[in-house]
Subunit: 348 residues, 2 copies
């Protein structure tokens, strides 16, 4: 699944353009807006491959996650807490590749990554490769708030989670029938065409080639920003691969001076592009507005052959949710009245 | 060891200023310069705490590492290969906290991190938490060149290293008497003042509170940039902590459009500051020259309470090696004639 932006646009037609070009939402001058944007992954999310029932399930769960985060903001809670509330709903749903229902690695195990960043303090917490922590986003928050570190990995991170009193579950908790079928299919494809599936370009041969990640960016009533991301990585992944989600500056970044960003897509490209920080830097050093900064960063990623999308919110309440895939699960709610739930690229 | 930049400057006197303000070296116009800069860690590196013999050993090894990398460039080799050659010499020396002679974690084990980035392709490879790979920088390079991934962690990364044919050693290979004494001292301090040592601010209570990391940035005859970093992390570290060294954009970053950067210091601050990419972004979007971009990024890190330093080289051969600690092991050699080996902050 390597192609240039031009090829990608040709592949997906106008839908990606409308996705990429979704206009920034700006609050009325004078108001102090608050709100949030969430995503549940980007990829080949198209109407003709989805039953009405599945579509409704995604819309309902996205709305539920968004509203859980918005409720925190509405009652004066922090952007960080809103991000956790929204991400947690998606981690607990089997629809998304995060927490319960995460994809399986080549050993048939769920390995989870997550990160959170507080734009006010630039504090951050990240976790890579945990197998027994029910809600990785809660572990990321605990690392940020209760450890001197930013990133913990593997069994050490799980020891920290236990000491922090987080809920521990057996790895089988995360495993669903759907993901077991996907792994079986990926293994078959690998046997039939070794070196093709994941080995060639890192693309997981999942049923819809969707990049599974969930994330949220929020702006609270006090004007503080936060971003959080959680994922199970790639189906049939090997060798302890870590993607962009837990990398501060890549898949997850927040800075009160600029914006908060959470990404989803072919993680290797987002890591090399340092996408979250790149958008922030275009605003801070290049004086670009959020929507243009996000569009330029994503265009550069696309030119390099990367696919995916992101959600971002600025300190002024402007939002962006560009993607260069056919679709991206996304939803937002802003105090000035905007509210939407979208799946496909051709939805305005 | 938390203090503001102002406090840090007061603590270390004029030496830090001279360190931070080392002028950019610029080649003569018209020439196509090539060269490299290396570091072997920053921290409380001061004359009065070092015997003449130890000082000479550091100077010799820094010169050897630098010259190993420079020889690659001189014969037309790539910046990437030069970085590997220089870093490898330091990994193989017990003087530095990387490879052989790395610090021990709380379990008495050496856990190694490394990363490399190619500024021409923006390809990158990173590894976190390996215990048996003799030269982690070689593993980072193998990940960049021979896997579809950017970052591998833990036992999975070691499986990849074996399949890639890299040299595997028992963990005891890395362990030295000096590091065992340091761990014992750290444990004693922790028992005497629980919650102080590492727990309070993440500072390892090592003998000289030095941040051990090695790194190299290079510009080759073809005008390509590369950066590499390797470390054993923090003495007595717990919970699978990952620092900034293997984080693309934080401790390691290279981009032919701007510069190559390798950092050393209190990793958590470098991760939150996304330091490598921040310097690059100030050049790309803010049109700053390398030295000023590096100085501003380090000043911001210092204001947040972070300590450490970095080496950087631009596409034009300009270099910067600022630090806000009393000293930083560093050396450089540029085809236009500049050549130096420095340890302390008061050396010009």
């Amino acid at each position: 699944m390597k192609f240039t932006l031009t090829q990608a646009l040709a592949l997906i037609g106008a839908s990606a353009l409308s996705g990429s070009a979704e206009p920034a939402k700006r609050p009325a001058p004078g108001a102090r807006p608050y709100g949030l944007v969430i995503h549940g992954g980007a990829g080949v999310i198209v109407r003709k491959e989805m039953t009405a029932q599945t579509e409704a399930a995604y819309r309902d769960k996205l709305a539920q996650a968004r509203d859980a985060g918005y409720a925190v903001l509405e009652r004066g809670g922090s952007a960080t807490d809103a991000v956790v509330a929204a991400v947690r709903v998606m981690e607990d749903s089997p629809l998304f590749n995060a927490g319960y229902g995460a994809v399986l690695d080549s050993d048939g195990v769920c390995e989870l990554d997550a990160a959170i960043m507080d734009g006010r303090t630039l504090g951050a917490g990240a976790v890579a490769g945990v197998q027994t922590v029910k809600n990785p986003i809660l572990l990321a928050k605990a690392i940020m708030e209760r450890s001197p570190h930013v990133m913990l990995a593997g069994p050490g991170a799980e020891r920290f989670a236990k000491e922090a009193g987080l809920e521990i579950v057996p790895n089988s908790y995360f495993r669903t029938e759907r993901r077991m079928r996907e792994l079986e299919r990926a293994r078959q494809q690998e046997r039939q065409a070794p070196g093709v599936g994941q080995a060639a370009d890192g693309t997981p041969p999942g049923e819809d080639r969707k990049w599974g990640t969930v994330g949220c960016v929020a702006l609270d009533r006090d004007g503080n920003l936060a971003a959080g991301t959680s994922t199970g990585g790639m189906t049939n992944k090997k060798f302890g691969r870590v993607g962009d989600s837990p990398i501060i500056g890549a898949g997850t970044y927040a800075n009160n001076a600029t914006c908060a960003v959470s990404c989803t897509g072919h993680g290797e490209f987002f890591m090399r592009g340092v996408v979250g920080h790149d958008i922030s830097a275009r605003m801070e050093y290049g004086a670009l507005p959020l929507a243009e900064a996000a569009a330029r960063t994503l265009a550069k990623l696309g030119d390099a052959g990367g696919t995916g999308g992101l959600v971002a919110i600025g300190r002024d309440g402007a939002v962006a949710m560009p993607f260069n895939t056919p679709g991206m699960y996304r939803a937002l709610r802003i105090s000035t009245g905007e509210s939407l739930v979208r799946l496909f690229g051709d939805e305005r």
